[in-house]
Each structure stands twice: as C-alpha cells, then as structure tokens.
C-alpha cells in the first residue's frame, strides 16, 4: 500500500533539480560561416561540469550558456583566440580541450612520447636478447 507513495516521493524529490535544467531551444546564427566558426569553438572548450565532454556535446545549463555567449562573441566579430582567451582567463587552461604547450605542461605533452619510446626500446631489446 505504501509503495505508490514512496515512488511518488522519490519522483517528486527529482522535480526541483529538473526544473532548473529546463532548456530552451538554441538559435543558430543566421550567417552560416559564423555558425560554423562558433560550432568549431564549441568543440575546443571543455564542459566544466561533465566528464571529458566538450560544450558542443553537453546538455548542462552552463554549457548552453557558454554556447550562447560564444555565438554573441562570434557575431560581434571577436577572433577565435580572443574568445578562447576569455574563457581560459576565467576558468584556467583546464577549460581548453587542447592544453597549451608551456613549461608547466611539458610533462603532460612529453610523457606519452617518453612512454612510447621506452616501449619501443624494450621491444627492441627483447628481440635482440632472443636472437
């Protein structure tokens, strides 16, 4: 007898957060070149509240606001660099899908190369020993 009430209570508890996630349809820019540029920028920014997604693929409220802001900036003639810099100065480089190559990111960029080189070295060595 209690089951329907418990189910209702569970569903109701999700109603608040869902109302906050209501989304309005997005309006693409009328200029197709600008819209393509904006869409390309969406793929270069990470969704801050998702796991490994760009804002292009995210349904999060923040990602939708970011897309809208990018469209505004593209239509007002801002360059790609200016738009990406706007976001990275506020969220840090971690918002960029491709982190910049700088002294503090050398390990990040070079570690895979070192790992692969080391792997090749080990394979080469194993074959030589077998011979």
């Amino acid at each position: 007898m209690m089951r329907p009430f418990i189910l209702f209570a569970c569903l109701f508890s999700f109603a608040g957060p869902l109302s906050a996630q209501e989304r309005l349809p997005e309006t693409p820019l009328t200029d197709k070149v600008q819209e393509t540029k904006a869409k390309h920028l969406f793929t270069q920014l990470k969704c801050e509240v998702c796991q490994g997604q760009s804002i292009a693929d995210s349904n999060a409220a923040l990602a939708q606001d970011m897309r809208e802001l990018i469209r505004q900036k593209v239509s007002s003639g801002e360059s790609d660099v200016m738009i990406l810099t706007y976001f990275s100065t506020r969220y840090g480089d971690s918002i960029l899908m491709t982190p910049p190559l700088a002294p503090r990111t050398w390990v990040l960029w070079l570690a895979p190369v070192l790992f692969v080189s080391f792997g090749f070295f080990l394979i080469f060595r194993m074959f030589r020993v077998q011979k």
């Binding site: 109302s19 509240v49 606001d65 506020r90």
Partner: protein, 178 residues
C-alpha cells in the same frame, strides 16, 4: 637477463611516478591554496541584473563598497541551504555585507526560499542568462567571492564549510587587514 633488467619496466614506472608526485607537490606548494583560482585579482565584471527588490537593478556600482561577500546560489540547490549558516557566521564575524545572486532561478520560488532561510542578503540579483556567472568563472552553485574595492580577492567554489572559510576566505581578508 639480470635481475635488474628483468624488472626494468617496473623501475621505470616507479621513477616516473616519483617524478610526477614531486612535480605535483611542488606545483601546489609554490602557490598558497587560496590564491590558485584564476579569478583572484581580477576586477569585478560590469553587470546589470534584475533584482528581488522591485524595479531597481543590481549593478557592479552597488558592489563598489569597500569589502563584501558575493554569494551565487539558487533556491533549487540543496547545498546552498546547507552552507547558509556558515556563510551567515562568516559575514557576522567580519561584519561584511552579503550580496546574493540567484543563478537560473524562479523569482517566485526564490521569494519563499529567502523568507524560509532568513534572508541575509543586503540585495539579491537574478542571473537568468548566466552571463555574469561565466564572467566570474562559475562552475555551479553555490560559490562565494570576497570583493575588495571592486576586485576579487577570494573565491570558494562549492558549499562553504568551516575549513573552506578558514583556508580560502579568511587568508585573503587577513592580507588586506593584517
């Protein structure tokens, strides 16, 4: 194959792990925890928001007071209610005015929420489009900023706890009032 070379991949992995741990540790030691947010030191962005106080808009000029707390919250956010007593205690302790900005909220629900929580906000703005939120590097609600002379001097992203106040907000206040 000697015993050392048999475990060469393991040694190499251990060495790399050690190197990574040292690098990460040095990176966090170089900068105090409360200074790591990219928004620290930036000017408060210009904005003009609808407010809960009738027709009057909330603008950055209203926040030009010497030192204040800016709290991003929402009536649908449970963590915002949970941090409320800590926010209130922090504001009382340092005698700082608190300004609230509701993110993506319904003014009707917000009105009841403020009454229920015991409104501590001097004024409450409504960031419906989330534009100011992005200008402040917001990742979600709640978030708390300490503003001094229209500059952001401290940021805490998440629900405030006593540790968060001690480690992120108070050090900045001590720097301006040693």
């Amino acid at each position: 194959m000697s015993r050392f070379s048999r475990f060469l991949p393991l040694w190499a992995f251990a060495l790399l792990a050690l190197f990574t741990a040292i690098s990460l540790n040095r990176a966090t030691e170089q900068m105090p925890q409360h200074n790591m947010d990219p928004m620290i030191g930036m000017d408060l962005p210009s904005f003009s928001l609808k407010s809960m106080e009738g027709e009057a808009l909330l603008t950055q000029q209203d926040l030009a007071e010497k030192t204040l707390i800016l709290n991003y919250f929402a009536s649908w956010c449970a963590a915002c209610k949970a941090e409320y007593p800590i926010l209130s205690d922090f504001a009382t302790k340092y005698k700082l005015p608190v300004y609230g900005i509701a993110w993506k909220d319904d003014p009707n629900k917000l009105k009841y929420w403020l009454v229920d929580a015991g409104n501590i906000y001097q004024r409450t703005g409504l960031d419906e489009k989330g534009k100011l939120a992005i200008a402040l590097g917001l990742k979600g609600v709640p978030e708390t900023y300490v503003i001094h002379n229209s500059k952001i001097i401290a940021v805490y992203r998440g629900a405030l706890s006593e540790d968060a106040v001690k480690n992120f907000l108070e050090p900045a206040l001590k720097e301006i009032n040693p």
